[in-house]
Symmetry: C2
Subunit: 471 residues, 2 copies
């Protein structure tokens, strides 16, 4: 059974020395052309062997009539031939010693052709290959410029992305590229005749280039194994998951889509949460949460300081934080009394409001006073610059505090052209910025959820700083 | 009392023939300079009279030592002088026959100076002027290029924006400008010694240039009057409101911010909803909802058709729609049988999934078949273009259906560079596009909420098309 194969054998899938593109086409607009083009233009450094019975040249590369004809070794086969030919091609690949394959071809169970999928599954099991797909959008490993996909070429980054929906995957890659966000790996696993979501989770859990994992999932094959692996991986790095098919109608839609049983949507969510998965509700949350979880320390409790120069956004943040189970408490009296240098009419109750008179200096002085003690577990600093306040200055000043106080510091600099130069300064210093107070609050929630999970599971032994944690 | 003044008298506030800028400064970076500059550079066509005791010229305009010295008539005074001078200046303005004033100056109740605010309130009542502020960020009327504010100059549009928080207002203007969204009016009303949120709501309700109203509010002065006016205005045009201070901690933050009592946050929300206000939870929803409510017909019921070429996003949309109380039902059998021209393995259960094989033609054919009958009340069309599908072609094709079927048609073309040319085509045809299925679903919810409100309040007499509505 596939579960017995070691995940180490997925290494060849993502790190091949050479690739055969079986079903390569010379015709622009054909999948077999576009994938070959992506591999070539993506800058893959190993051998690339287009396979097409007609022979000739494609994209200046010599074409082979079959895998067998290729003289060198082949690690990875990307298969784009008609569905019914795929089982035989897998056999051939096995004979040639190919280690892994990505089957892009559609026309299996998703089109009602269960018999062909069974046949493919058998051949895969006999072949010794590790296989992704069929009916998938391919894989990407940005660290070695491997773009074995027809989707947009995303840049390098620290996010590993696993998706059950190929098209949604492509859309999210385009979204990320549009926002300048990079990825380490991308895998669309399609019908999963061999490698499934859990194998991939385990592999990305070990992958040095992947700091956070994002996952779009509708159903899992083996719930128990998934939960076990998810929990193990979550202890090492964050997994942010979006679950399709949470409601009854959504579950019905899932059944039509991937044939997964998602009927127990709410049960799934509870199990996911227990395994440490952070649940995203929309696409931007994948990236909001990745950012906060990559840059920030864990929270040792639920108390958030909100420091602002504008009341409205601070009110919005406070509402959202407390709705999400966090707390925005007033400073204890002895701490509050240290703010006596501020004018009387400033609110010192948290949110602490420096009003339109705020300067970079007052931001820093108040932040240091309140945040360097143990009382607050995270700080959200909001800056809505009036024209006479340089939001870059405030960003630089805050960054110095970031170096001194090793606790999560989150920013909400609003908006557009008023703050566009300040955001890179903040983020360059490990202070993630979010475009609205609500999004900042939700990101803090993600950090809090993960902190609670780690506190529960890693115990004092390995995580002694969490002694003070009160879940 | 101010409530007895007719809202017609707000006309001079937004449509002055001439403006005195009292406290105009020649020093760049001063509020008194930046506001004058905004008025001049904004392109205001009437008389502009800077007032400064020192005299001289500012921005090539002759300066007057006091309002009295100005020879021509003055309709609007913008006041930026130190707080303690404002009551006397209001007196002077009254003497000169000035009709309205915007008091930018801070240093009143918000800084604990209740006495000065009382004094100002008295003078305002005696002066006959309509006054916005004090402690506000000013007003904008894009139709006559009036930018009496220190905030960013937003472009022309159909959204009227009323905000209790000046800084949040400025941030939202910057957000809108960044996204290319324009506005008709902007008002930051500050401490509201005279003109309050309800007066402004009433005024924008009558304003021809304003098609939707967006409102950031923490507390209202006179709840009963607000509710009455809000309900009346909601019958004419949508009001989208964001309420600061919904939670207990949020309410405490509101008290520190504007001194409003927002303790009854949840009660406010219920009352707002009853008055037809559509509640936004984050900044982008102001604009998402404005877009859908401006472009789409009302919904006559809760049934939404989801048509897609990708399963994942359709599942997400279905989850969100049903969570929000809408429905994504299968087509009745006789309708479903009309889809027999589609391959067997396509899901026809709603979401209807055309798979990666989708073409502009199949989109149109299926949409016409299902949407031209009475069964569905709105349609969400999702398109995640594989490289071989031209998303512009699909957008054009769908637009033709928009002309034929007079029901809400909403789009979710995903993402980034894959669809950037298609979106203007959709939106140009009155098909609002949203970047994710969840945001599209939430926008449909806003439309549904408003449709229900109108169905309840406008009755069959004026709204006979809603006969079939089932709230």
């Amino acid at each position: 059974m596939t579960n017995n194969r070691s995940t180490n054998s997925l290494f060849s899938l993502f790190n091949p020395n050479s690739i055969a593109v079986i079903g390569a086409s010379s015709k622009q607009g054909k999948v077999g052309y576009e994938i070959l083009k992506n591999i070539v233009e993506g800058g893959f450094k190993g051998g690339i062997y287009p396979v097409n019975p007609r022979g000739g040249e494609i994209l200046s590369l010599e074409t082979y009539r079959s895998v067998k004809e290729i003289k060198g070794e082949v690690d990875l086969a990307v298969i784009i031939t008609p569905a019914e030919t795929v089982p035989e091609i897998i056999d051939e690949c096995g004979g040639k010693g190919v280690k892994a394959a990505v089957v892009i071809s559609a026309g299996f169970s998703e089109s009602g052709n269960l018999k062909l999928e069974m046949k493919l599954r058998e051949r895969v099991e006999n072949s010794g290959l590790r296989v992704i797909g069929p009916n998938c959008a391919g894989i990407v490993n940005t660290s070695n410029n491997l773009y074995a996909t027809m989707e947009i070429r995303v840049g390098k980054g620290e996010i590993g992305f696993i998706t059950q929906s190929g098209a949604l995957g492509g859309a999210i890659l385009a979204w990320a590229k549009d926002k300048g966000i990079g990825m380490s790996k991308f895998v669309s696993y399609g019908n999963a005749v061999d490698v499934d979501e859990t194998d991939l989770l385990e592999y990305l859990g070990e992958d040095q280039e992947t700091k956070t994992i994002i996952l779009y999932i509708e159903g899992v094959k083996n719930g128990r194994r998934f939960i076990e692996v998810a929990r193990k991986v979550s202890m090492k790095k964050p997994i942010i998951a979006m679950k399709g098919g949470v409601t009854e109608m959504g579950s019905r839609a899932v059944q039509s889509h991937t044939g997964s049983l998602a009927g127990e949507g709410r049960i799934y969510l509870a199990a996911f949460k227990q395994s440490g998965l952070i649940l995203a509700e929309d696409v931007h949350e994948f990236f909001d949460f990745s950012k906060v979880l990559t840059h920030c320390e864990r929270m040792r409790g639920e108390r958030v300081l909100v420091l602002t120069n504008s009341g409205g956004p601070a009110v919005m943040a406070t509402d959202k934080l407390t709705e999400l189970g966090l707390s925005v408490p007033e400073p204890p009296q002895e701490l509050k009394s240290k703010l006596d240098f501020l004018p009387k009419y400033y609110s010192k109750r948290n949110p602490v409001d420096l009003t339109a008179e705020a300067t970079a200096e007052t931001y820093v002085k108040v932040l240091k006073t309140l945040f360097s003690t143990e009382f607050y577990h995270a700080a959200l600093v909001i800056c809505v610059p009036p024209f006479f306040l340089d939001s870059v200055e405030v960003a630089k000043a805050i960054s110095e505090v970031r170096d001194e106080v090793k606790k999560p510091l989150i920013a909400c600099w609003m908006s557009g052209e008023l703050v566009k130069d300040a955001i890179p300064i903040l983020e360059g210093k490990g202070i993630p910025n979010f475009p609205t107070p609500s999004r900042a609050a939700k990101a803090i929630w993600a950090l809090y959820e993960r902190s609670k999970f780690l506190a529960r599971h890693l115990k004092q032994k390995t995580f002694k700083n969490l002694k003070g944690f009160r879940p």
